[in-house]
């Protein structure tokens, strides 16, 4: 019986303790569904929010603009101008089901203001619709009032909408299309994934450590194996859980992309051309996709994927061992969350730094945060799509893995002492003494 085979047994146990549970399978399926639901939710909510068609009365004192507000699928408008503006409230109360009354003043051309009366909080939908209808019509009327023939066309023509095409040179001056928006989206998504995964799997390690300590199985465990073996087995076991879970999601994404035809092979221009020829996609859309795909192609996806994996592993080791050390200082299951505060702070800080770096991915903040090991796994993700020099990535990964090993060694010392101590208040002084 050597250390390696014991670590293997522990790893297998830790892996099965999480991945063998029904809840793991359920969560693995649910998390992507929830994510999709979160993205689709605002749209769905808007759909639900539409509700019934409301009746709105209009008092048009200008006599011209009332007709500009036409019925849409949310509101029906009725002209009640003859009633006038006195006694509107009584009228409102008498009319059952009347939602609001819009009063267009006679001098709207100059004041540009309209009153909407209601006993309800007036919906944003009504406000923006009325403002839009009247705004367009009043603008037209104002343009017409200059009596210059064709003025509306002149104004239209003079509208300048600039489209930016960013072209990126490589060392030799070869051009490729770059799309900052796309790069920042990819960067953000990766940064968020790293943040989420490190936190999620770190928390799993913490739970496992706290469980062993609080139900006192730990005394039996450390009589069967060394604490460091237990710690390594846990970190590796939970790591495998992560790998399996992420692999399942990748397969998910693969299947979904295949269904919707957004295959990664689509970056192959030939394929796009063929698809276009087949008449599946009209020319405009084809061009747009082509542009996007060119931008995607300009981003070194496989390089980013490799870095993502490396940074994830490094970040996971670093934070995972910290979570384990934190867990070993916990006496009661419900104290667990308190012990994670330092890690959570670092992680949230890393995510915020990542978000802040989107605007200037080559700035000082971005540079330093992508070197500091506590933030680099998240912040570097934001920078990666913008072609970070190789030496910077190499240096940052070296720092990350170096400090991950260092932190793991320190964490193991804390863990070794912490798991066997009960009822002691944990002070930094104690912990520093253990590390020595």
């Amino acid at each position: 019986m050597n250390n390696i085979s014991r670590i293997a047994i522990i790893t297998r146990h830790e892996f099965l303790a999480i991945a063998g549970k029904k809840s793991f399978i359920v969560m693995t399926i649910l998390i992507p569904l929830i994510s999709i639901a979160c993205l689709g939710l605002p749209y769905l909510m808007m759909q639900f929010n539409k509700g019934d068609i409301e009746t709105v009365a209009i008092v048009d004192e200008s006599g011209r603009y009332g007709k500009a507000i036409t019925d849409n699928d949310e509101f029906r408008f009725h002209d009640i101008t003859p009633i006038g503006t006195t006694g509107l409230h009584e009228f409102y109360k008498r009319q059952d089901g009347l939602y609001a009354i819009v009063v267009i003043p006679a001098d709207i051309d100059s004041t540009l203001s309209v009153d909407v009366f209601s006993q309800n909080a007036v919906r944003m939908g009504l406000q923006s619709y009325v403002a839009q209808c009247l705004g367009d019509t009043v603008t037209q009327a104002r343009i017409a009032s200059y009596n210059i023939p064709g003025l509306d066309k002149i104004i239209n023509d003079s509208q300048a909408d600039i489209q930016l095409n960013c072209v990126k040179w490589d060392e030799d001056g070869d051009e490729s299309q770059s799309d900052a928006e796309l790069a920042s989206i990819i960067g953000l998504v990766l940064a968020f994934l790293t943040y989420m995964f490190v936190m999620m799997y770190g928390a799993m390690i913490l739970t496992s450590v706290v469980e062993e300590k609080t139900n006192r199985i730990i005394e039996v465990m450390v009589s069967c194996c060394k604490p460091i073996e237990l710690l390594l087995g846990k970190i590796i076991g939970v790591g495998f859980v992560g790998i399996v879970q992420i692999a399942i999601w990748c397969i998910f994404i693969g299947i979904i992309s295949a269904i919707f035809g957004i295959s990664t092979v689509a970056s192959d221009p030939e394929l796009i051309a063929r698809t276009q020829m087949a008449g599946n996609i009209d020319a405009d859309t084809g061009n747009m996709i082509n542009n996007i795909m060119q931008s995607v192609a300009s981003i070194n996806l496989s390089g980013i994927a490799a870095c993502f994996v490396l940074y994830f592993i490094g970040g996971y080791l670093l934070y995972g061992s910290m979570f384990a050390a934190a867990g070993s200082t916990v006496d009661q299951p419900n104290e667990g969350s308190q012990a994670t505060i330092p890690m959570m702070m670092f992680l949230v800080l890393a995510l915020w730094a990542g978000i802040a770096c989107i605007d200037n991915p080559d700035g000082t903040l971005a540079w330093w945060c992508s070197m500091i090991p506590f933030t680099s796994p998240v912040v570097m993700m934001v920078r990666l799509p913008y072609d970070v020099p190789f030496w910077e990535i190499a240096l940052s990964i070296a720092i990350l893995f170096g400090s991950a090993l260092g932190i793991a060694a320190v964490a193991a010392k804390i863990y070794r002492k912490g798991i066997l101590l009960y009822g002691k208040k944990f002070s930094w002084k104690n912990i520093m003494a253990w590390i020595k």
Binding site: M1, I9, N215, R216, E219, V220, S223
Partner: protein
């Protein structure tokens, strides 16, 4: 031959001396009681024997050689604070510990089958531990401790929390393991069980061994020269000057009296028996040895008194 020997083992925690030059000998195949009040250092010593912690100094011999990492496959340990993975199935739990103790899968499975059957738990093998009653969970802990047939078994307060039926069952199994040749270390406050099962003891107080040796020998050493005398033809017994005094007399249910006498210093037991025999109808004569409980309390309080005076 000694299976375990510790020589001058010292262990210090955060400025507190947990073990002060502790030397004990546990003979091969012995049931050894490790006694002492709470906080005396028993658990510290047990953790060192289990290689959970290392001594600051001192020597540890296991089966004749210095204690080594590979020896954990020959040790079974049931801690006082014992837990289980509540979400695991009974069989998985036992297998996990057995594998960590160095058994291969097929041996572990075979041994588990045997033990589950012996404890009437076979039909629970696939149940989660959280579904078990407390008594059944304790049996699972016991099986996990002994499944790899270790040469050395360490039980820390094994009977705490057990109902009388399970205590008997456990005692039987422990003695059975002893018969099969295992060396057993008991750590306990339960002096009744010490008298019943332990052959040798070491009593630790304030981090030091204050008393050790064979149980029978220790009880004799602590003899107060008290004897129980049964007399059938009288209701009264008088003390004999220079020979014995009377401690206590009570009527015997069989008729006559039962008296406790204390032999005078320098008097011979033979003379005392002859003296009584000449004057009364002697039915029983038996030495009253102090119980381990009395010895424990006496030793610990004397020792505490000494430490306080120092």
């Amino acid at each position: 031959m000694n299976f375990i020997e510790t020589r001058n083992v010292v262990k210090q925690y955060d400025g507190h001396l947990a073990l002060d030059r502790v030397s004990i000998d546990v003979p091969q195949g012995c049931v050894f009681g490790l006694l002492g009040p709470n906080g005396a250092g028993k658990t510290s010593l047990i953790r060192i024997l289990n290689m959970i912690t290392r001594p600051d100094s001192g020597e540890l011999l296991f089966d004749g050689h210095p204690l080594h990492e590979k020896d954990i496959t020959n040790i079974g340990y049931l801690p006082e604070e014992r837990g289980l993975y509540r979400k695991m199935k009974v069989a998985d739990h036992i297998m996990y510990i057995a594998r960590l103790r160095g058994m291969n899968s097929s041996d572990a499975r075979r041994a588990m089958g045997k033990w589950l059957e012996r404890f009437d738990l076979t039909q629970w093998a696939d149940k989660k531990i959280e579904a078990l009653s407390k008594g059944m969970a304790q049996k699972v802990q016991f099986i996990s401790t002994v499944i790899h047939s270790p040469k050395l078994l360490i039980f820390d307060e094994p009977f705490s929390g057990f109902d009388p039926v399970n205590t008997e069952l456990l005692k039987k199994e422990i003695l059975h393991l002893h018969d099969e040749g295992s060396t057993i270390i008991f750590s306990t406050h339960n002096m009744g069980s010490v008298e019943e099962v332990c052959e040798e003891i070491a009593l630790i107080n304030h981090s030091r061994v204050v008393l050790n040796g064979r149980v029978a020998e220790i009880r004799r050493r602590f003899s107060k020269k008290l004897y129980q005398v049964g007399i059938s033809d009288t209701m009264k017994i008088d003390p004999a000057e220079g020979l014995f005094s009377i401690e206590h007399v009570q009527p015997s249910p069989a008729g006559g009296i039962t008296a406790e006498i204390r032999l005078a210093t320098g008097a011979s037991l033979h003379d005392a028996i002859a003296y009584i025999n000449d004057r009364y109808t002697l039915t029983t004569f038996q030495e009253l040895l102090p119980s381990m409980n009395e010895i424990f309390i006496e030793t610990v309080s004397n020792n505490n008194l000494q430490s306080a005076q120092q």
